[in-house]
């Protein structure tokens, strides 16, 4: 077991809280699992205090050695989920279980450190996420000193070279001595993955890691993510708005809309037979040069709602051509329509997909 409690710890007593729940809770093979995870933000002034529902009732799981793509428009709550999973935000309600251990039970600094080493994050903007005044080696060596204190100085350097080699930054010894401005965007993003990898993570939360890179370089990073899964056994939560890249690299796909999960399932199955009307809209909007042009499809002009003090009901109902009365009154819950394929829609059926778009 390589869980929270398995990490070498200096404060055995502090560890007990996190370790108490032991390995994954019975019946769940998931590495990480969320239960009704909710994050609300207060907006407005004291006179008009309102609540923004960034993420509502999000229940999802990520398996071992799995790439899960979390897709959705901006404002759908996908980055909020990333920040909740990496403990940057505290959930308003709901719980995150990592290897069966609830995160709310983490108390000590050592446990927190251990968790952030196991679930590191890779950021969107490779130009602002690396400190420009230090050499590239600075970030990764610091992370190693903090998260793997058992290593000697020499070992830390050897480990830094190893992870740089794994992410394809060669010759590693030379790259480590460079400054960030000497690297291209793609190389910097590889540095981000190398830093994450140095901490021997179980799950890398990658928030739009390729969206700022050029197309010719993106594929290289997507291939790197697949390699990290296959060779290093790391799981990745790949947050993206690019469905095509999600399909390319991910095993499972979760589609979010306005803070709710709209649909989730094996990526090929969801793309071949999307059940939720929003997923259908999203897929019909993806440009595909290999397909003939079909103008007219998806000329939807709606915009995702601002989820401030929402009334109950499906949040997609204003844009949905299939909406029925029930959609305006009852918030749909995720239902398992096919094995491992869930959709939160009153209209969606298990049989032939009900077509709304595309």
């Amino acid at each position: 077991m390589t869980g929270l409690s398995a990490r070498r710890g200096r404060q055995a007593d502090a560890r007990s809280a996190a370790g108490a729940a032991g390995p994954a809770a019975p019946g769940t093979g998931a590495l990480l699992r969320t239960e009704a995870l909710t994050k609300h933000f207060k907006v407005g002034t004291a006179l008009s205090r309102r609540t923004l529902h960034a993420a509502d009732d999000v229940s999802m799981s990520i398996g071992e050695r799995q790439i899960v793509a979390l897709a959705g428009e901006s404002g759908s709550g996908k980055s909020t989920i990333a920040r909740l999973l990496t403990r940057i935000y505290k959930p308003t309600s709901g719980e995150i279980y990592f290897q069966g251990t609830p995160l709310s039970s983490i108390r000590s600094r050592a446990d927190r450190l251990r968790y952030s080493g196991l679930v590191p994050m890779v950021f969107q903007d490779p130009f602002s996420s690396i400190n420009p005044v230090f050499r590239i080696s600075h970030g990764v060596l610091r992370a190693l000193a903090l998260h793997r204190p058992e290593l000697s100085r020499r070992q830390r350097y050897a480990e830094a070279e190893r992870v740089f080699g794994v992410v394809g930054l060669t010759p590693a010894a030379e790259v480590l001595q460079r400054y960030p401005h000497e690297l291209s965007g793609g190389q910097r993003q590889r540095v981000g993955f190398a830093q994450a990898l140095a901490m021997r993570p179980k799950l890398i939360v990658a928030d739009e890691p390729v969206s700022m890179l050029d197309v010719s370089i993106r594929i290289g990073l997507l291939n790197l993510m697949a390699r990290l899964r296959d060779q290093e056994g790391v799981s990745i939560l790949y947050i993206t708005h690019d469905i095509a890249s999600a399909r390319y690299v991910a095993d499972r796909l979760i589609v979010m809309y306005a803070g709710h999960i709209a649909e989730s399932g094996p990526v090929e199955e969801v793309l071949a037979g999307p059940r939720h009307p929003y997923t259908q809209l999203l897929l019909s909007a993806v440009p595909d040069p290999r397909a003939p042009l079909a103008v007219g499809a998806a000329t939807d002009r709606g915009e995702p709602p601002k989820v401030i003090d929402p009334a109950p009901g499906c949040r997609f109902r204003w844009r949905c051509p299939l909406a029925i009365d029930r959609c305006h009154q009852v918030t749909p819950e995720l239902r398992e329509l096919l094995p491992a394929h869930h959709a939160a829609c009153h209209v969606a059926r298990a049989g032939a997909a009900t077509k709304a778009f595309g």
Binding site: E73, S74, S184, G185, G186, Q187, D214, V215, S216, I217, R218, I219, G220, L222, N223, H241, D242, I243, A244, S245, R247, Y248, E268, L271, L281, L282, L283, A285, V286, P287, D288, P289, R290, A291, L293, V295, A298, T299, D300, R301, E303, P304
Partner: protein, 389 residues
């Protein structure tokens, strides 16, 4: 500057004017200094050997290197390339928006028969918004955050002599409706609009005078796929109705594939390939375009392993001696590293690659002639300076 409005009569009357394909350029005899030969018949914009340098401390960096192309009236011209390939600089050069340290170092931009390069600021001001408008990449930064949309529309119209309050209000509401925004938003400030609406109001502003050419610099890159798609459909629809030409710069190959008539692929400041969009997509000739086609995954079809293009674009301060793509090219030949390829015509497209040198003749017509300046040390540089048809 030859008078603008005179020959614009037809443009607002919808697509009827399209079929007639009137050549606006031909009707402006008082054109600026014609550099070489006459302007291409019928083209609304012709860019010839345009070069832009950035003056750096260590010497000039040529960001746009002798780029030539033309845009016909009502055409949708796509320009794609990676960041740093000079596509935005090219647009800024065409619209004369360059600010130091960038500087036009050669070539000419013939817009409706007149050379934009020689115009004074005052003459430029008369053309901008009226005959040629630019939609910037980030509407959030391009719109003034402290005034309402109405005030910004009013400014542009007043600058061009529309003083009637009634007329300003009418036209402002009209253009906003054209892009699918309720005119109540005229009184909104930019921060009150969503990203898609901001970008749409920029396009509405560009439409105030129904220009003949709209230059768009990645207008959809900040939008989600659904908003992006609907904006593209809308631009296309407006273009069909009002018949303006569009130059659309993007890094998103898949987006452009459905909307543009012709496509120019830029690499390291040069034209790599230029031709009909479908043709470039179906049979890309330049190894770089071919690589780009293979670089993005699809949501349909088999899930194949892709490779992208290893390596990164060259440092333009020290461009490779031969072909600029040679260090990354899978089909590199010995000669590519020492000689600069010209732009060769092969089956309707112009391509900068030795593989197509022996195509159906070298490029000279229309888009060609990019290699005819000396000083680049390329042995074949003069080979394609053939006559323009």
């Amino acid at each position: 500057m030859p008078s603008g409005p005179a020959n614009r009569a037809g443009s607002a009357s919808g697509e009827a004017a399209r079929g007639a394909a009137q050549p606006p350029g031909a009707r402006s005899p008082a054109a600026g200094p014609p550099a070489a030969g006459s302007p291409r018949a019928g083209a609304i914009l012709e860019v010839r050997d345009l070069s832009v340098d950035y003056l750096a401390g260590s010497g000039a960096v040529t960001a746009v290197d002798r780029v030539s192309f033309h845009v016909d009236p009502g055409e949708f011209m796509g320009i794609v390339g990676e960041s740093g390939c000079g596509k935005s600089t090219l647009l800024f050069g065409i619209a004369r928006l360059l600010a130091p340290p960038a500087e036009l170092s050669g070539g000419c931009v013939m817009f409706r028969g007149a050379n934009m390069v020689g115009l004074t600021d005052k003459e430029l001001a008369a053309v901008r918004w009226k005959d040629l408008s630019v939609v910037m990449q980030s509407a959030m930064n391009a719109l003034n955050p402290v005034t309402s949309i109405r005030a910004q529309f009013r400014d542009a119209m007043r600058a061009h002599g529309v003083t009637s309050r009634h007329e300003i209000a009418r036209r402002s509401a009209e253009v906003l409706q054209m892009v699918g925004i309720d005119p109540v938003h005229l009184d909104s400030y930019p921060h009150q609009l969503s990203g898609g609406m901001r970008q749409r109001s920029m396009i509405a502003m560009a439409m105030l005078f129904t220009p003949e050419l709209v230059i768009m610099d990645e207008p959809t890159s900040a939008l989600d796929v659904v908003a992006q798609r609907s904006l593209m459909v809308q631009i296309k629809e407006l273009q069909r109705q009002y018949g303006f030409a569009v130059i659309f710069v993007t890094h998103d190959m898949s987006l452009i594939s459905h909307f543009s008539d012709r496509l120019m692929v830029m690499y390291a400041g040069q034209v790599a390939e230029i031709g009909a969009t479908r043709r470039v997509f179906e049979s890309p000739l330049h190894p770089y375009s071919a690589g780009l086609m293979e670089a993005f995954p699809s949501i349909r079809g088999p899930r194949a392993e892709l490779t992208g293009i290893p390596g990164s674009p060259p440092d333009l301060a020290r461009p490779p001696q031969g072909c600029r793509f040679a260090p990354r090219c899978p089909k590199v030949m010995p000669r590519c590293t020492s000689e600069q390829p010209g732009l060769y015509r092969a089956g309707g497209t112009d391509v900068r690659c030795f593989l197509h040198e022996g195509g159906a003749g070298t490029a000279g017509a229309g888009n060609g002639g990019a290699g005819d300046s000396g000083g680049d040390g390329g042995g074949v540089a003069g080979a394609d300076s053939g006559s323009r048809s």
